[in-house]
């Protein structure tokens, strides 16, 4: 079980890039259908059901329509940036997925192929870097349209995205403390060897990561950049046809990547729960399943069916989060802008900082006591569970996130 030779590596890389790229676009197309079907279900409607069986061809019809529709551009718009903005927002959204491992390594006659486009040594930093580039597309779209609503949407989205990026980054620190590495394959492996998904021992991080992912993808309850009732549709008001579609694809690609990240960082990635047959990782160029007591590597036995099973596990976990995104969108109302900012800066930032210190302290104490394995995970789960319960109990007690100020009551209750 050795690594690939350079030429074979290149061939497989090309195949992986094409497969992953196509899969993302296909998934995005069907996520739009899923969104409409789920919203229809929640609102007791049927949803799209005319194009193909159960409306399954609807995304294709939408795609063709979007290419053939007339594009409008305000005469006062800045032409160059107006055209650049959709491209600038779609590219980072599609590229971010590259470092996420989607399944266990696949054995082939030429060697073992990693089921990740690029297992970069910087891993999670790459995700943070590229996902934050998305803000440029949105802001430029808002600014270049020369429309007041677009501009407000653009300004709002940039302020909101940078605010929650801080919380997002800080919620990742405990994961890095526990994993001791920034590559996503290693984080998956660490969860396997600990026997705990990080959602349990780092529950508050998980919660913060989910919340800030919603804010980063501009999804409800954080969709203020495109609040229909206030800003028409915010930064993409002036966009039509394919350019509008590109913003749409970018949003859903971000949702997909965020879901895959949550699954990878906090739910064990492609690892199948309660089964150690899929434990495999690289150590010094050799694929091993684990280490014996004396530190000797145990060779892993990859198989095509293991790759398939682990991919299904990954897909199920990711789909769950995609569904969560859709579910929340059609269930919760939108925040007010001051509430969004309060939650980001006055609640999540200080609590996330305190939690980093708490986790680091707990881990160091446990290490000093020589606690390992299952007991280590349980102790950390208990500490985090108390922190999370405390957070959920104390937040939203009208201390920081306030409703409408007194004296400005809704018309009906005056």
């Amino acid at each position: 079980m050795t690594q690939l030779s350079p030429t074979v590596f290149l061939v497989f890389t090309a195949i992986k890039v094409i497969v992953v790229f196509t899969a993302i676009l296909l998934a995005v197309a069907y996520m739009t259908l899923a969104e409409r079907k789920v919203s229809a279900f929640i609102q007791d409607r049927l949803g799209p059901n005319r194009v193909g069986p159960f409306g399954l061809l609807q995304p294709i019809a939408d795609g063709i329509k979007n290419v053939l529709k007339e594009e409008t551009m305000p005469a006062t718009a800045n032409r160059f940036f107006f055209v650049l903005a959709p491209a600038l927002s779609i590219v980072p959204a599609l590229v971010t997925f590259a470092v996420i491992p989607v399944a266990a390594p696949l054995p082939t006659p030429w060697g073992v192929v990693d089921m990740v486009v690029a297992d970069l040594p910087i891993g999670i930093l790459y995700v943070l870097a590229f996902s934050s580039l998305g803000v440029y597309g949105l802001f430029l779209a808002g600014w270049s349209s020369n429309n007041k609503y677009s501009f407000l949407g653009g300004v709002r989205s940039s302020a909101q995205m940078v605010s929650y990026e801080v919380a997002l980054g800080l919620s990742l620190i405990p994961v890095l403390i526990l994993a001791g590495n920034v590559t996503l394959t290693e984080i998956v492996h660490q969860q396997q060897s600990l026997g705990f998904w990080y959602a349990l021992p780092l529950s508050l991080s998980f919660l913060f990561f989910v919340i800030s992912s919603f804010a980063e993808t501009n999804r409800l309850p954080f969709d203020l950049p495109e609040a229909e009732s206030e800003l028409i549709t915010g930064y993409h008001t002036e966009y039509s046809a394919m350019k509008f579609s590109m913003f749409f694809i970018a949003e859903y690609a971000h949702v997909l990547t965020a879901s895959a990240l949550m699954a990878t960082l906090f739910l064990g990635g492609w690892s199948v729960p309660f089964w150690s047959g899929d434990d495999m990782f690289w150590r010094a160029g050799v694929l091993v399943a684990g280490l014996t007591e004396s530190g000797q590597p145990i060779l892993a036995s990859p198989a095509w069916w293991k790759t398939l099973v682990t991919f299904v596990a990954f897909a199920v976990k990711t789909s769950f989060f995609v569904f969560l995104f859709i579910w929340v969108r059609w269930t919760l109302p939108r925040f007010r802008y001051d509430q969004v900012m309060h939650l980001g800066w006055k609640v999540m930032l200080p609590v996330a900082l305190a939690y980093v210190i708490l986790v680091a302290g707990t881990v160091l104490v446990l290490d000093q006591l020589g606690v390992e394995g299952f007991l280590f995970g349980s102790a950390l789960t208990a500490v985090s569970g108390i922190a999370t319960a405390g957070f959920i109990f104390f937040v939203d007690r009208d201390r920081i996130l306030r409703g409408a100020p007194r004296g400005r009551l809704p018309v009906s209750s005056r």
Partner: protein, 118 residues
């Protein structure tokens, strides 16, 4: 391990080509029948009044400044976090002090009302 970045470059190339392809395809295929009304900025059917490039709240600027500080803090925390378990208590104390200094800054900001949106 510079070769591990090659796949990313390929994916980046494919994504950029895809984005350009989408723009060009719709530019070639779509009909163009502009009218003065279509080229007006859409403000719910009202004729736009005033200039878009107006002044806007300084709060957004303050948020951007705070973001730089705290995002940099996150970046500084990452190398420590990766090695936290082997560095032990000494590094923990250093990080606690570092975080403490920034929390004092956050409290100052909070008290000054920078984080209030009224």
């Amino acid at each position: 391990m510079s070769s591990s970045y090659l796949p990313v470059l390929i994916l980046l190339g494919v994504s950029v080509a895809n984005a350009v392809g989408m723009l060009v395809a719709s530019h070639v295929l779509n009909p163009r029948r502009p009218t003065p009304e279509k080229e007006m900025p859409y403000e719910s059917g009202m004729i736009p009044l005033g200039d878009t490039r107006a002044r806007f709240s300084v709060k957004f600027y303050m948020v951007a400044l705070s973001f730089i500080i705290f995002d940099l803090e996150t970046v500084f925390l990452i190398p420590w976090a990766v090695a936290a378990r082997s560095l032990g208590w000494q590094a923990f104390a250093a990080v606690a002090v570092f975080t403490g200094v920034l929390v004092v800054g956050l409290i100052y900001e909070w008290r000054k009302g920078v984080l209030d949106w009224k």
